[in-house]
Symmetry: C2
Subunit: 209 residues, 2 copies
Amino acid sequence: MPRAGLTPDGVVAAAADLADEVGLEALTLTALAERLGVRQPSLYKHLAGLPAVHRGIAVTAKRELGEVLARAAIGRSGADALRALARAYRDWAIAHPGRYAVTTRAPAPGDLDDEAASAAVVDVVARVIAPLVGTASDDPADAADAADAPMAPEVVHAIRTLRAVLHGFVLLEREGGFGLPTGVADSFDYAIERFAAGLAAGADGVHPG
Amino acid sequence: MPRAGLTPDGVVAAAADLADEVGLEALTLTALAERLGVRQPSLYKHLAGLPAVHRGIAVTAKRELGEVLARAAIGRSGADALRALARAYRDWAIAHPGRYAVTTRAPAPGDLDDEAASAAVVDVVARVIAPLVGTASDDPADAADAADAPMAPEVVHAIRTLRAVLHGFVLLEREGGFGLPTGVADSFDYAIERFAAGLAAGADGVHPG
DNA sequence: CCTACGTGGCTATTGCTTATAGCTATCCGG
DNA sequence: CCGGATAGCTATAAGCAATAGCCACGTAGG
């Protein structure tokens, strides 16, 4: 019996692809082992069970998402960067449903790799959003600062809000939460424009007129 | 062996409570049967398996949520109604995690009860949001109209956006997607205020200044 | 009153899942 | 070239949903 030559990283990579194809719920160790040409218990030589597989997918997926978002925002600023970031997020989530499903899970406390990957994603979003918050100063230096200094509460709120919009939209779209798929892309663009407008409106002025 | 006197509705009610307590993922037929003082296969005399249990929870939960939202919006209008609706949504979702998890699933096509319950929730949201969309006319008649006539695309977009914000926030909060729980309520309020401000800003004016 | 049928609850079983225990053969370092 | 670490295997346990088939409860009909 020749060895299959598996590695933890290889198993995780195969698991991520399989999760994207069949959905995270349908990702079983048996199916994963079959794809790797190996019996199910053999996977335990490389990873400590299904939770470890999920965690592995989460770390690589967060790294990928962080890179995709960063690339999308390169060379753009202001609302333009926000639009590009949002579209890249949605496109990636739709293209990688299995990876995405595990991306929103918080890292286990003390899991440094996972924490770093998660922080990298938040950092990209922070750099795009910080200049848009409140009285919308367009000084690029603000964006750089946002990564180093502790963020202002309003920036934290804005980041969470954007993540909620993005995450909620992707999830509702995927689970068919919207009635017809008609114009979901338009609705998404609308959501991003409204969010940008809301940020630009500043800390006051909720009531129209 | 005396009969336990179960009914489909009773089983669903117990399942909803159990799901809130242990989480939807941990809601097993075995645990549900045990709580009802019955063996697991007996449940099949009343409901066609786990998917039917989920569907039953979904219908009752959507009805409950629709009522809670409607009650919260009574006697309020404009951004006030929006705030009350949003808080009621979040409170209910946090208080009923099991029910909530199944609330966002789309009804099976042709499932009239589920479709009606889902439509009722959307209807409440529509009545609150419609007056706030675009140039924010405050005529209460608009709200009533929104339920009867086909909704304008912008209203559909706005409803979807609000649902995405609410759903995304609740999910990220529950899964610990936000780093520290610090100020999540503040962030939620911020999100709603920004959303309201974005609606009030009208269809144009994305760029600040 | 009392019988007979419908049905609610049961046991037994199947097939799927994750996970562990223990064996063997392979590969690499000394 | 040999010996130890280990990658893969078989066998197996425990928990899950779901089906098949049995039996006793309880009530509708005579």
